[in-house]
Symmetry: C2
């Protein structure tokens, strides 16, 4: 079982040093500290375990070290920054694992860019040696890239020429969409195994600058000073403590989140408990609560549960999303968050909630939201329903109140990868109705919610149990691959962004290539990398 929880004192591959407004994130991968057997992490190559630490470090910077303005990402290894994802790890992994690995590493790189965009931290890739493949893809997720000019160090994306696969962590998309490199140059670069050194790399826009070895550190330091010169002070950070969770044979129990696996029927019940009553409303009091403040703790638990489902429970095809609690208490939390959204900690909490919801959007499982008496799909928790592929709401006038409710957070603050809110995506056909729905402040019962266009089905109490049971049975009987492709196509209507291009276009192509005999067959390039045998291709173009 893969555990996504870690902390700096447990890191094996990264060192996180913070000195005032400057953080240094140094890669020093331990060859033998691998997540699985059968490969060694030479030359700062990485596996999922290495990336879990990186994701944790980026997250901690935001919550624990809010004063940091510049993050220098570099390596402790001489003449090598990072050799990318470990090829032998990829070559020996299942298709599903490769796909999940790429998705998580993509999310980590998008989290770096999310930090730049929303919290203004600048990430500097200080390439003290060669950055190849995923190494350059990590660099290109940073705001600025500086390469040492030692006559040897280069940047490269050797996946196509050497391995017969794509740079699968957003590299191709970021080349032409983020750094806006001319596509013919991107084409040359992406087919050149040895890559490019400083001069041409800068000319083509692949790096920002290059410096001789003797001046490298000095130049990086100078750039860091420029960034941190006018650093404003913010309050002190909060500590992210280890999540308390209990692993059970049939699931995981957290404080606010419960995951119950119905393995035989291949579906899970994922229940989120709403907040306690009377939570603090001032930023100072929230900082006192720290990571036990409901929005932070519940969403950290939800994030962990989603990652657990993805990687450790591949056979679960459907997740029934449920909530328990009081609608007013959820709305009170949303009101506090919205009122204080410019405070650094609240901003971090909101950005994090948005990232967790996007993790759900990108999870290759079906989601059905189930709205029953005692549930609290309101405000931020209503996003769970809107993110689901369908929703079912009990329509029973006799039962204790069953309602859903909107808050200002549904109008903004928790955007999807396509840049829209989930309600905007839902009401693309009818923006006027969107405005009407957003104006409703009272809780909506099943018929009102149906009328408002928020719910898929509202069975009455006679049909309820049968309808849910049949829906679950039907969904879990379908081809899991067809569902993945269908959901990826239906979940992201409207505009596309660099993120959706990475997860949609690039990931889909990479998944395709990861199955092709030319990559993973007995004579494929990935299979034969580093062996005395040579790859042999079926040259028919598809």
């Amino acid at each position: 079982m893969i555990n996504f929880q870690t902390s700096p004192d447990q890191y094996k591959h990264w060192k996180l040093n913070v000195a005032g407004p400057v953080a240094t994130l140094t890669m020093d991968v331990q060859e033998d500290a691998t997540l699985n057997e059968g490969y060694k992490l030479k030359l700062n190559s990485y596996d999922l375990g290495v990336d879990i630490e990186l994701a944790d470090a980026v997250q901690r910077l935001r919550f624990e070290h809010p004063q940091v303005k510049a993050v220098v990402v570099t390596s402790l290894k001489p003449r090598i920054f990072c050799a990318g994802a470990n090829i032998y790890m990829l070559g020996t992994s299942s298709h599903a694992f490769k796909v999940n690995f790429c998705k998580f590493t993509n999310e980590t790189r998008c989290a770096i860019e999310d930090d730049s965009q929303h919290s203004g931290r600048r990430y500097l890739a200080a390439l003290n040696g060669t950055a190849s493949g995923g190494g350059y893809e990590l660099a290109i997720a940073c705001d600025e890239i500086y390469l040492v000019d030692d006559g040897n160090s280069a940047i490269s994306l050797p996946e196509v020429p050497l391995l017969g696969v794509l740079p699968g962590t957003g590299g191709l998309t970021r080349l032409v969409d983020k750094r806006k490199v001319r596509r013919d140059r991107a084409d040359v670069f992406s087919t050149l195994a040895e890559g490019l050194k400083g001069k041409r790399a800068k000319e083509w826009g692949l790096i920002d600058d290059y410096f001789p070895t003797s001046k490298f550190q000095e130049k990086i330091d100078a750039r860091v000073r420029e960034i941190t010169n006018d650093a404003t002070t913010v309050g002190e950070g909060i500590k992210l403590n280890p999540l308390q969770k209990e692993l059970k044979p049939a699931g995981v129990e957290y404080k606010f989140v419960s995951l119950v696996l119905n393995r035989e029927q291949r579906y899970a019940d994922l229940t989120v408990q709403g907040p306690e009553r009377d939570l603090p409303t001032s930023p100072d009091a929230i900082r006192q609560l720290g990571d036990s403040y409901w929005p932070l703790q519940a969403y950290r638990e939800l994030d962990d549960a989603l990652l657990h489902l993805r990687v450790n429970e591949p056979e679960i095809g459907l997740v029934c999303v449920r909530t328990k609690g009081n609608i007013d208490d959820v709305l009170a939390v949303d009101q506090t968050l919205a009122a204080n959204k410019d405070h650094w900690l609240v901003r971090e909490i909101l950005s994090y909630m948005a990232r967790v919801l996007r993790r759900l959007d990108l999870t290759a499982k079906s989601f059905f939201a189930i709205v029953e008496p005692g549930s609290c799909f309101a405000g931020n928790l209503l996003e769970l329903l809107l993110a689901s592929d369908r929703s079912y709401m009990l329509n029973d006038a006799e039962a204790e109140p069953t309602a859903v409710s909107l808050s200002t957070l549904n109008a903004g603050g928790l955007p999807m990868s396509n840049g829209l809110t989930r309600l905007e995506s839902r009401f693309l056909a009818n923006p006027k109705k969107l405005a009407e729905v957003l104006a409703r402040t009272e809780p909506l019962d099943a018929e009102q919610a149906d009328e408002a266009g928020l719910i898929t089905f509202v069975p009455d109490e006679l049909d309820w149990e049968d309808e849910i049971r049949v829906a679950i049975e039907e969904r879990t009987s379908l081809s899991p691959d067809a569902l993945t492709g269908m959901e990826a196509s239906l979940r992201f209507a409207g505009p596309e962004t660099m993120d959706t291009k990475i997860y949609g276009r690039l990931t889909a192509w990479q998944n395709w290539i990861f199955q092709r005999p030319n990559a993973v067959g007995p004579e494929g390039a990935l299979t034969n990398y580093g062996k005395p045998t040579q790859a042999k291709f079926d040259f028919r173009r598809t």
Copy 2:
């Protein structure tokens, strides 16, 4: 060898009737007239042969019947409109053929929408019976959808529940992006094998209206009258005559296009001959020339050569694009086209040139443009260079002039699928430079073209032959699959549109699923469709 040329007198599956401003395009698929053996085209199901006729009919409407304002797409079969792509054809086809089949049918549907958008013809899908799978995908490519209400007829996308694959002809994307159907309803519809009948289909926005059998024809006629009431008359159409082409063992020769296959080295030389001198400059004189007018004939030949390369020459991985002729003559044609772009025939010619160039953008082969003395990469032919993955231009001051040149058509009129011009896509990083380049009216030699950012490499005469030879050898040695994924990622920087979502996101996912054992393995759903054996799935979600 598959032949993409046809004409109404040769149609086996469609009838095209034109009466004044109304065309009726009637599907009546002949079961036994299949392109390959091993399946029967029952219930108006289709194979590539059926779609080649449809593509031809849409094309002919635009050139031969410009007065048509409304196109009614319907079926001659009782109680069935169209059952979609033939499943046994899909089940017995190679992966590469399935992918090429879906790409062509997608291009046909996009051509229908291109006609609506640019030429204002309205397409009405008159569903006189059930439209399932590709049948509904054809309907949703039309502007309006009307379904007969006979107690039985339905629309459906049964691919996911019945076949374990996606509706691969844009259906999912058009559901949420064109008709803007709510994604939860799209989810329900796309997993419901039996589909939906009139009332709910209309409620959910899947069709525009439904009428009882007795009123169906009358209602369609009434709607057609509304559309054609204020029809303005345009000039008479021109005839699209059969292309003259000579098939040779090593290629195809047309009048203006030559395709020479170097099969052993797996690359082709594709040469386009520029226009004759002193072509007419008035729309009337152009109509006199008809389909022998250079822009129309050369691009029809180019289109045919591209389709031939895709489907009949799968092992050719690289196309070296060359031109021959006089730059001034190309620029003169561009000037005529630009000056008369509002004339219906010139508009049709320009839209067609743009579609052919987009066909190139979407062809899964590498393209290198080779600029040598005597070439004429200018204006519309410069788009061939800009569409290529790379360009090489001889830099030899002694040689006879080698130049490229811009025209106003490079600034608009020949857009990519992403809505941008190829120059806009190229200069995303530097819009100022784009404006400077567009302002240059004189021919540019190699160094000027390099400086202007138009060319990838400008080797001198000493290096020229070796550099081209090595580039070809290197390119054709790489994994064809990795190249396809890489090129699909690098060719479309910037914004995404419904078209790019269909070709990028949806197609990539469909290609992935088309390889998965759950679809095409011995126990896969596609393999087992219609057999007594049942599909068995590996339920691990990826």
